[in-house]
Each structure stands twice: as structure tokens, then as C-alpha cells.
């Protein structure tokens, strides 16, 4: 499935400055694997040593925080928009 991935400012050094890149995969896990293959090193910024999504990063498929769905196993249908966003406090 072809999806688009929005890249936060702090990871744009990996994508040559691009704010949005295209991705591939039926689940978030697959999309992140492909992303890391295309932009080596970016995967380890999003996932920790044990392969889980880092504590202070929020990942969304469409409008939904993946922690409300199936985490890394969340489905990423064709055309889905994936956002990777650092956690923010204070409101």
C-alpha cells in the first residue's frame, strides 16, 4: 500500500529536508521498515532498542493515535497519511 509520511523537523536531516515522503506497507511496522530502508537511521530515532515506539513520540495514522488502535500493527490503508510528532506538554 502506498502511504504518505509526514516527517517532523527534527528528522528532516534524514529525508534531505523533505517534510513529507511516500511510504509503503500494510501496517505501521512495515511502513517504518521501508522508511528506514529508504532513509537509513531514521527507524532507530522513532523506535527504541526493544523495537517499541519511543516514549515521547506520537504516531498517527490519519487522525488516530496508533496507541488507540494496534500500535505498530495498526493497518495503513492505501493513501493513509502517517504523522510522527514529538510529545508536547502544557496547555
Amino acid at each position: 500500500m502506498s502511504v504518505s509520511v509526514r516527517i517532523p523537523t527534527i528528522l528532516r536531516t534524514y529525508t534531505g529536508g523533505n517534510a513529507e515522503v511516500s511510504g509503503e506497507g500494510g501496517t505501521l511496522r512495515e511502513v517504518l521498515q521501508k522508511l528506514d530502508a529508504d532513509y537509513p537511521g531514521i527507524g532507530a530515532r522513532i523506535l527504541d532498542e526493544s523495537g517499541k515506539i519511543r516514549r515521547f513520540v506520537n504516531v498517527y495514522v490519519g487522525e488516530e493515535d496508533v496507541r488507540f488502535v494496534d500500535g505498530l500493527d495498526s493497518a495503513t490503508p492505501a493513501g493513509a497519511q502517517i504523522s510522527i510528532i514529538p510529545a508536547v506538554a502544557g496547555g
Binding site: 509526514r6 516514549r55 493515535d65 510529545a87 508536547v88 506538554a89 502544557g90 496547555g91
Partner: protein, 410 residues
């Protein structure tokens, strides 16, 4: 551009310790951990502080602001009352209870403290627009501070907030954008706006200026200690939305100890949430160190953050200090608002109701020691959340102006 952040020397990652130059950045490039301000403090004495102005700038030597901050146009928040709450203490069975009443700030919530620091950061970075994602109080604090500082303002809120908060955020000018969604969705939108050319030169006080902004909450810790005669309280109850305020009050207490401004002693930090949005309380009670987000449903809209970024730190601090995280129902919030008002003459917004309600629950469940010095925060003004007490918002009787009518009515 030469930056002047006073005693602040760097940003450091709370998770992995990586250090960065002072700049408008908020997340670690290595691990996404939150960045916070690191300092090199000079010598700071109680006398220096006491000779300062009666606002947060008396602590300027402990904050990321230029030394001459007092000569700039700002809202000068802080130095709010610490009310000795003997009446409420008697009802709850507490010997030495104090209410730190932050409804006395310029826009009637503690948010003026954090925004004041963010304004200095925005000036330092040459930003022209002040912005935020807000559960309501922050929006008003930002539009007011921007007006006074001569900056543009554009703030974002969930569209269904209390009318009074919307009006306050609007009256100071600037743009007020209601988003059809929850606070967490507003937050996400703002995070994306920051990475977009549209948001260039914008200082989002709680996003790209967050490390500076958050330091403003330390002034609550300093004031409480100074107002207690340079002593830390034994127990403190703090409301939690994102958890930033609680985290920084703890940081403030630790700084006072390490600078020798107060005697080192143990203190317990208790966190308060509304049952309809209690992800941190749920994690605390389950013994977890991760916070699973929730979709909020509570009258305490200022605390309705379902995905609290500093939640894990709140858990750490409550556990480290021997405190706890508790939550109360909306009905308990309303009765706590009335209890505080009818005992101490302090009219709290729903966040204060949550905090006082949790205080009551902590006493009833013996999680709090009633013989010790206890401080409870009221972070906002009840006039902003009138709907919460709508049932009581009419006269007890309406009569003709006659003694007979009054006799009949009483």
C-alpha cells in the same frame, strides 16, 4: 542575533542527557525526549530575592530571562496569595493547610507565569507571532501577553470550550481559532504547523518555546517556599493536565535545596486529575510507568488532556517523593468548588475543584498526613467555569421589598 537568557546556558534532554545550544527546539534529536533548560547559577541569596519586585521577576536569577527583564513590557504575574486555610483545614481535619491562589494572576490562571517566560524567549528569537494550543486558560494568557508585548497572537483551542475562556482569549485581540476536536488534536495540529512555512517565526509557547515556558511553573515552588518563611511544605497537591506544572514545581523545590535557599527535607507531591480524564492516575494505581492515552470526558476542561506528555514524569515524582496520583468525579469537583468557596472565600474554576476534591479524598483515604504542612493549588478562577455551578447561580430567594416577604422566605 545575540541571545540573552540570563543564567540559562543550554538545553538538555531529560531522557538521555544530550545537550543542545539554546534555541527554539523542544525535542531531542536522539530520542525525542523533552528538552529542558540547564543553568549555571551564580550565588543567589534570600535577601537578593526579597529585594526584588512583588512578581515572578524577583526570581529572575533562577529563570531563563535577561537580567533587565523588569524594564520590558510584560504582564508581571506571580506573587499571588498563599492563603492560610484554617476553615477548610478544620472541615477536612488538617492542622496546617494553605491554598496557593493563582486565580489572582493578570488573566486569572497560573498560565500567566509560563507565558511571561515564553514571551522573553519569543523576543530573544525574534519571533513576531505568539501562539499556542490551549485548553482555554493558556489562550487568554497568550493573547493578553502578546497585546502587552506588542506581538501578533494566533491561538488554537478545542471549539467547545467554556464561553468565558473563549471571550477572554478573544478580547485581547489577535486570532482565536476553534478546532473541531479535542485538545490532543489541537496539539497535534500545532505541532504540524510548526514544521510548515506557514508557522515560520511563530513562537508556540507550549511547543517550540516549551523548554522556556515550562520553567515559569518553577516560580510557584519558589513563592510557596518563600511565603512559608523559606521552608518547603511537607505535602503539596497539584492538578495535572500535561503534567508540566507538577514536574517544574518539583524542579523548583530541588533547586532551592541545592542552592541552599531552603533546608533539605523530604516533601511529598500529590497529583490531581478528573476521573473523566485520568490517564496518569490510572497508570499510577495500576503500577505502570507508561501512560495509556484516553479520550477525555469531564467538566474540568482545562485539565482535559488525554495524552499527557509529562505523564511519565508525574508518575516518577509521585513515587519518588512518596506521594500519589488520585482522581475525583465531576460531582466531587462541583462540591469541592463549593466547599472551598464557602470556607475560604476563594472561587476556583473546575481545575481547583479537582485539586481540592483530591485533597479531600487523600485525607479520607489516609494517604495524606493531616498533622503536616499542606499546600493545595488553586490554578484558575471560578468565573471562567460558571456552568459548573449553574444550579447555585441564582438568588436563594426573590421577594418583594417587604419585611413580611423576607420573614416568609427565611
Amino acid at each position: 542575533m545575540s541571545l540573552d537568557f540570563g543564567p540559562a546556558v543550554a538545553l538538555s534532554c531529560r531522557e538521555c542527557g544530550a545537550r543542545y545550544d539554546l534555541g527554539p527546539s523542544f525535542a531531542c534529536l536522539e530520542c525525542f525526549g523533552p528538552l529542558e533548560v540547564a543553568y549555571s547559577f551564580g550565588s543567589v541569596t534570600r535577601e537578593d530575592i526579597a529585594s526584588g519586585p512583588a512578581n515572578i521577576w524577583r526570581y529572575r536569577s533562577l529563570l531563563p530571562v535577561p537580567v533587565d527583564v523588569t524594564s520590558k513590557q510584560n504582564m508581571n504575574p506571580g506573587w499571588t496569595k498563599l492563603v492560610k486555610a484554617d476553615n477548610l483545614g478544620k472541615v477536612l481535619g488538617l492542622r496546617d493547610l494553605h491554598v496557593k491562589d493563582d486565580s489572582g494572576n493578570p488573566t486569572h490562571s497560573f498560565k500567566d507565569r509560563v507565558v511571561a517566560i515564553a514571551v522573553e524567549a519569543a523576543r530573544n528569537f525574534g519571533f513576531h507571532t505568539l501562539s499556542c494550543s490551549s485548553t482555554g486558560n493558556l489562550a487568554g494568557a497568550v493573547t493578553a501577553a502578546a497585546a502587552r508585548a506588542g506581538l501578533e497572537a494566533c491561538v488554537f483551542i478545542p471549539a467547545d470550550l467554556e464561553q468565558a475562556k473563549i471571550a477572554m482569549a478573544r478580547v485581547f485581540g489577535g486570532k482565536l481559532v476553534g478546532i473541531e476536536g479535542t485538545y490532543d488534536e489541537v496539539n497535534r495540529f500545532c505541532s504540524e504547523l510548526i514544521g510548515d512555512p506557514l508557522g515560520d517565526k511563530w513562537g508556540f509557547v507550549n511547543v517550540n518555546l516549551r523548554p522556556y515556558y515550562a520553567e515559569g511553573s518553577k516560580t510557584l515552588a519558589y513563592e510557596i517556599a518563600e511565603q512559608l518563611g523559606w521552608e518547603l511544605p511537607d505535602q503539596i497537591i497539584i492538578p495535572v493536565a500535561s503534567g508540566s506544572q507538577l514536574t517544574k514545581i518539583d524542579k523548583g523545590f530541588k533547586e532551592l535545596i541545592s542552592l541552599g535557599l531552603v533546608e533539605d527535607k523530604p516533601y511529598k507531591i500529590f497529583a490531581a486529575q478528573a476521573a473523566g480524564c485520568s490517564p496518569v492516575s490510572t497508570a499510577f494505581k495500576a503500577g505502570h510507568d507508561v501512560v495509556q492515552p484516553v479520550k477525555p470526558d469531564t467538566i474540568a476542561k482545562s485539565l482535559a488532556i488525554g495524552n499527557p506528555a509529562d505523564g511519565p514524569y508525574v508518575l516518577d515524582i509521585a513515587r519518588r517523593t512518596g506521594g500519589a496520583v488520585e482522581d475525583v468525579t465531576d460531582a466531587e469537583v462541583v462540591s469541592a468548588i463549593k466547599l472551598l468557596a464557602s470556607t475560604e472565600g476563594i472561587f476556583a474554576e473546575t481545575a481547583g475543584g479537582v485539586t481540592v476534591g483530591v485533597l479531600k479524598k487523600l485525607v479520607e483515604t489516609a494517604q495524606l498526613d493531616p498533622s503536616l504542612t499542606t499546600v493545595v493549588l488553586n490554578t484558575g478562577d471560578g468565573l471562567k467555569t460558571l456552568d459548573a455551578i449553574a444550579e447555585d447561580a441564582s438568588p436563594t430567594a426573590v421577594i418583594r421589598p417587604s419585611l413580611d416577604a423576607f420573614r416568609a422566605a427565611v
